[in-house]
């Protein structure tokens, strides 16, 4: 659920980068952080283990365009991909507005990708959320590796649903399609916000009209 601050005319969206361990979620955020101007970003908060794996989560606040008079702020989070940190993943998913599921394109990671996707669905379910209503994007990362699965297979196992979501081939380490992915999920959230805002506005006008008639 996005946080709307009417006093400051500000709206905050929470985007979580989800996926199996070592799939490149933190790399995505690090690249975004390196490319966004200093006026539009906060500190990239990251807590990693000695082995450089994300232990807690990464957090990156970003300022973006104004929509309907509201300044928009995006908070990017990652989750630890390791299986044992499921509680942390559930915490990070609280009040999420949109998901970027980062899949590792390597053959040997297919099962982990699917386990992670299932875990995402399970954890959303624990918060009475589901992927029917939650905007999400797929990113097939590490496309520069030699042992990658074809897109047909990745799409078959991860995007085989009633609605085909947007998906991007990416190389997060070089930034390829990192911003395309971020922009895609951001635009979905902005669209959802503007649409709901329009609906709310229509409802309030109708209410005023009804009360006037009475």
């Amino acid at each position: 659920m996005s946080i709307i601050n009417y006093a400051n005319k500000e709206i905050q969206f929470k985007i979580v980068y989800y996926g199996p361990a070592v799939c490149g979620k933190t790399t995505n955020l690090a690249y975004i952080h390196s490319q966004v101007g200093p006026d539009n970003k906060g500190d990239l908060v990251s807590l990693a283990t000695a082995a450089d794996r994300t232990l807690f989560f990464d957090f990156l606040p970003l300022n973006a365009i104004a929509v309907k008079g509201f300044k928009t702020k995006f908070q990017l989070y990652t989750v630890p991909g390791q299986v044992i940190y499921d509680t942390t993943r559930q915490l990070v998913l609280r009040s999420v507005d949109g998901i970027v599921f980062v899949a590792d394109s390597q053959w040997e990671k297919m099962e982990e990708n699917l386990e992670s996707f299932k875990n995402l669905e399970d954890n959303l379910g624990k918060q009475n959320l589901n992927m029917e209503s939650l905007p999400y994007i797929l990113q097939y990362n590490k496309r520069d590796m030699p042992n990658i699965a074809p897109i047909t297979y990745l799409e078959y196992v991860l995007n085989n649903r009633k609605v085909r979501v947007q998906s991007f081939e990416a190389v997060a380490s070089t930034g390829q399609n990192v911003f395309a992915t971020l922009n895609a999920i951001s635009r979905l959230l902005l669209y959802k916000f503007t649409r709901e805002s329009d609906l709310a506005s229509k409802r309030s006008k109708t209410s005023v009209l009804m009360s006037t008639v009475k």
């Binding site: 500190d43 990708n113 699917l114 209503s133 047909t152 297979y153 799409e155 196992v157 979905l188």
Partner: protein
């Protein structure tokens, strides 16, 4: 990277007492650990017999891998999700999100082979050593390939792994090699690497549902974020992945008829030159950056008639203010001299030894390129002139708007 936690008190990074993110005040109890998968994974053992068998089958090739790419024909349609509203007018379309449905189990299609052949050498090391009789491999006739039934494989594809009973694989070996007491009592399943299976299957078995609808995206929403500088020049291994292009766009055939969709407006020359296909309005800084990437330039600046920099960047050792001013002065001088001959210079190229400066002028807007000599081609010259015109028009237009 220096790790900072400005809004969290310092806490030891641990799973259980982890500090929640701002919007996560409640901590649900950790679920019990998942039950371990029983006897599903076999640790490869590299015993002597296995090594002997591998050597015996070393001549077996890896098999030809069919092309991995495939073309989807996604059905382009929009699903509208009705939403309750007190307003009498019908609500605008809701954003379409993915609905969760179970991935359909695959059934063999008419063009699906009943079996696929996998080189035995590729999976030999996956077999447990003790299923073979000691020393039996010497001089034995070993199979080159093993046939696996697609009816057994296809239902497992959505799970991201394929397992085959050990007995199925052992059936391909001469019976006198197998220790039947071990093989018969074993319920083990062998995990076959996917890269041995997927390329041998027709792509039609992985086709997506025909009634699948596309996630709705509102093109009127402005792109929120842009990169400050171009990505490093190291080319990716998959050069056919253009920036900002989704997988769906890549897989979609070029000439898919889209019913009920109004034709896209024609792209401006600026969009065409920069290779931007969505026709969105480009901001001046973005144009400068796109030009730099498109022509592999060292730097690009867009400057006003007075020589003031508007957008772009130059290499760090060059002063952008000075260079924009130089362009202004140069053209001022040229115009002064050229006035008598009724010529109006549009482009000026200067060499500075290690690099070149090319300046275009159009409608009082200067477009400065810093580049290497090799960059100068016929296309560079032709498109540079068009770009200068288009950039000038954009500047005028956006100046009016603002």
């Amino acid at each position: 990277m220096a790790f900072r936690f400005p809004f969290f008190k310092s806490k030891k990074p641990a799973e259980a007492p982890a500090s929640p993110p701002p919007a996560a005040p409640d901590v649900p109890p950790p679920p019990p650990p998942p039950a371990p998968e029983i006897a599903q994974k076999i640790v490869p053992r590299q015993g002597n017999l296995a090594a002997a068998l591998r050597a015996a089958t070393a001549t077996v090739g890896g098999g030809a891998s069919p092309a991995q790419s495939a073309i989807f024909k996604p059905k382009v349609s929009i699903v509208l999700k009705p939403e309750a509203s007190a307003a009498p007018a019908p609500p605008p379309p809701a954003p379409v999100m993915a609905e969760v449905v179970a991935a359909p189990e695959l059934s063999p299609l008419p063009d699906t082979p009943a079996t696929i052949e996998i080189p035995m050498a590729e999976i030999l090391h996956l077999l447990p050593e003790n299923v073979f009789k000691p020393g039996a491999a010497e001089g034995a006739s070993l199979p080159d390939m093993i046939s696996l039934s697609t009816s057994e494989i296809l239902p497992q594809l959505p799970k991201g792994r394929v397992q085959v009973p050990l007995g199925t694989i052992l059936a391909a070996f001469p019976p006198d090699l197998i220790d039947t007491s071990v093989a018969d009592s074993s319920n083990l399943k062998i995990k076959i690497p996917l890269h041995l299976i997927i390329p041998r299957l027709p792509e039609s078995v992985m086709s997506l549902p025909r009634d699948q609808v596309k996630q709705q995206v509102d093109a009127s929403i402005e792109v929120p974020f842009s990169e400050r500088r171009a990505r490093p020049a190291t080319p990716p291994a998959t050069p056919d992945v253009p920036k900002g292009t989704s997988v769906e766009e890549l897989l979609a055939p070029a000439a898919v008829p889209v019913p009920d969709t109004p034709p896209a407006p024609p792209l401006s020359p600026l969009h065409e030159i920069l290779g931007i296909s969505d026709g969105r309005e480009l901001r001046i800084p973005e144009i400068a950056e796109q030009i730099r990437v498109r022509f592999n330039l060292l730097g690009v600046m867009i400057a006003t008639e007075d020589g003031l920099p508007m957008a772009g960047s130059l290499p760090s050792d060059l002063d952008s203010n000075a260079w924009c001013g130089l362009g202004h002065l140069l053209f001022q001088r040229f115009s002064k001299n050229g006035g008598a001959t009724r010529t109006e210079p549009r482009r000026c190229m200067l060499s500075f030894g290690t690099f070149w400066l090319t300046i275009w002028q159009d409608h009082g807007i200067y477009l400065l390129f810093v580049h290497q000599l090799e960059t100068v081609t016929a296309e560079f010259e032709q498109r540079g002139a068009v770009l200068a015109r288009e950039v000038a028009l954009q500047c005028q237009q956006q100046n009016k708007t603002s």
